[in-house]
């Protein structure tokens, strides 16, 4: 069997639960893969680890992959999308007057520095017809932001829509409630995508395909039986809290797959959409060496 190191983009949980279900269901062994799943240390780090061969496969935001390839020429390519929509949203208190993105005008929004959910907010607001220059930006650590929102010290919080479930559970503990204003779909961007190194693609294209199949097998199983995915992650990983995973896993899986894009393309990239993705990244963070679609994606279907 091929030994494979698979690194997540952050600590296990939510959207990554299915990989563990895949372990139990034999998705990897069926492909003759002996996989080791380890936690990740952030979106960029995942690219570094794959580029340097520390891990063989990983999963991260396609925008991050595009940015790093452009700026550093990191030898990696995405092989399949997992989350086909950008989950960027803003979270507001239930009773907030903010109903749409344009309502943000004249209000404050909190974000941690360099937060991915913040990157596309100006773009999202422009698309929605608002004026981002009228929004007051407040930066603070991620862990402090929830507090600031619930205390009413900021009016909104830049976050992934999938995280708002978690924020809401925290809020409910304090007798409050938050809701998400989701706009990520208007951006028409890919999010979490499995990727590997050029070296791996060159030396073992077959393994790349088999690994993609194993991942598909895992997600298919999780979509069918989210509870099994929860059981799997709780069983496999120390420190997993069943309650939290029960709140997060079905929600994340549903966000990733219950949409038109997945319905239309399944586990394959829509190359036009990838091209759009590259353009959008270039818009928000001007790229020095804007890559072509083929610099970013390895098409496993051919």
């Amino acid at each position: 069997a091929d030994k494979v190191n698979f690194q997540l983009d952050w600590t296990p949980g939510g959207i990554s639960a299915p990989y563990y279900l895949g372990l139990d269901n034999g998705c990897y062994t069926d492909q003759d893969i002996d996989v080791t799943i380890s936690r990740g240390y952030g979106a960029s780090d995942a690219v570094t680890k794959v580029a340097t061969g520390v891990s063989d496969f990983s999963v991260t935001d396609l925008g991050t992959i595009i940015g790093i390839i452009s700026e550093t020429g990191a030898p990696v390519k995405a092989i399949m999308p997992i989350v086909s929509n950008n989950p960027s949203a803003i979270a507001v208190l239930e009773d907030s007057p903010i109903q749409t993105l344009t309502d943000l005008e004249g209000h404050s929004i909190g974000s941690s520095v360099g937060n991915a959910a913040m990157t596309f907010l100006p773009l999202g607001m422009t698309d929605a017809g608002g004026d981002y220059s009228k929004v007051e930006e407040i930066t603070a650590d991620g862990s402090a932001l929830t507090g600031l929102l619930l205390q009413g010290k900021i009016d909104a919080l830049a976050s992934y829509v999938t995280s708002v479930v978690g924020i809401n559970s925290v809020a409910q503990n304090a007798g409050k409630s938050v809701r998400a204003i989701y706009y990520g779909d208007t951006l028409n961007l890919y999010n979490a995508s499995v990727f590997t190194s050029d070296a791996m693609i060159a030396s073992n294209p077959d393994l790349v395909k088999r690994f993609a199949s194993a991942v598909q097998c895992s997600y298919d199983a999780a979509r069918k039986d989210p509870t099994a995915a929860i059981d799997a992650i709780v069983a496999h990983v120390d420190g997993m809290l069943r309650e939290s995973q029960e709140a997060m896993v079905p929600n994340s899986v549903s966000f990733a797959f219950d949409n038109d894009i997945f319905d239309k393309n399944g586990y394959a990239f829509d190359m036009d959409r990838v091209a759009h993705n590259i353009d959008m990244v270039d818009t928000v963070t001007p790229l020095t060496n804007k890559p072509a679609v083929t610099d970013v994606i390895y098409d496993i279907t051919n």
Binding site: W10, T11, P12, G13, S38, R39, Y41, D45, T48, K49, T52, V54, S143, T146, G147, L150, Q151, G166, I167, S169, V170, A171, N173, A174, V237, D238, G239, M240, L241, S244, Q245, M248
Partner: protein, 255 residues
Amino acid sequence: MTPALRKIILPVATFLAFLGVWQFLSYAMEIPIYLLPSPVDIFHGGTRLGMTMLTNTGETLKTILIGFACACLVGIPLGVLVSVNRTVSEMIYPLIVFLNAIPIIAIAPILVVIFGTDMTTRLIIVTLTCFFPIMVATASGILDTPSEMLDLARVAGASTMTEILTVRLPHAVTFIFSGLRIGVTVAVVGAVVAEFVNANKGLGFLVTSSTAQFAIPTATACVVMLAIVSVLLYEAVNWIHRGFFGWSIKSNVGD
């Protein structure tokens, strides 16, 4: 109350009082969990992890202890080296300060690439984080040696090496332990950082993963466990100082 008993009862009592006040304030001021969980919340958050908490504490403790030991093995000789020779000192001391100031986060990827994703990297990170206080304190102690003792060593024909081993290092013991006391608490932080950048287990991992699961009391419980480990290690250093280097301990204030 015997002194030994006092040494245990007093801090424990203060700690319990502190918890009491904290719990009371939490309750009275209705401090919400997302800001700061109360001790009771934290306790419940911790029990959610069950044994996992203890096994992971063991992991982290191992990293701290081995890493701290390495830091001593690096820091003390380096402290001697930078104080032995003016040229060496002027050449390399600023470079060490420079390298010490570079956040681990910035060099974590290259460490992982070079040393792999296992214990070695974590130990290197702990060592890098906490050798510096030990080095600085050692150097300060080495340079503080009274000239009359140096005179003795020199007339006795001591080489620089002998002078260091027989006079300067013993004199520096108080300084070195001051550095070790600081260093051991830094080592705890270092181990957490190491687990933030490279670990699938340990308290640092649990903190991150609990936070990612929005389980704030659980994350805080892990933090509290780390702080307890820190106190125990600090006391262990004190105890070693008193037990093995008692001669270097002078009087208390007010007798």
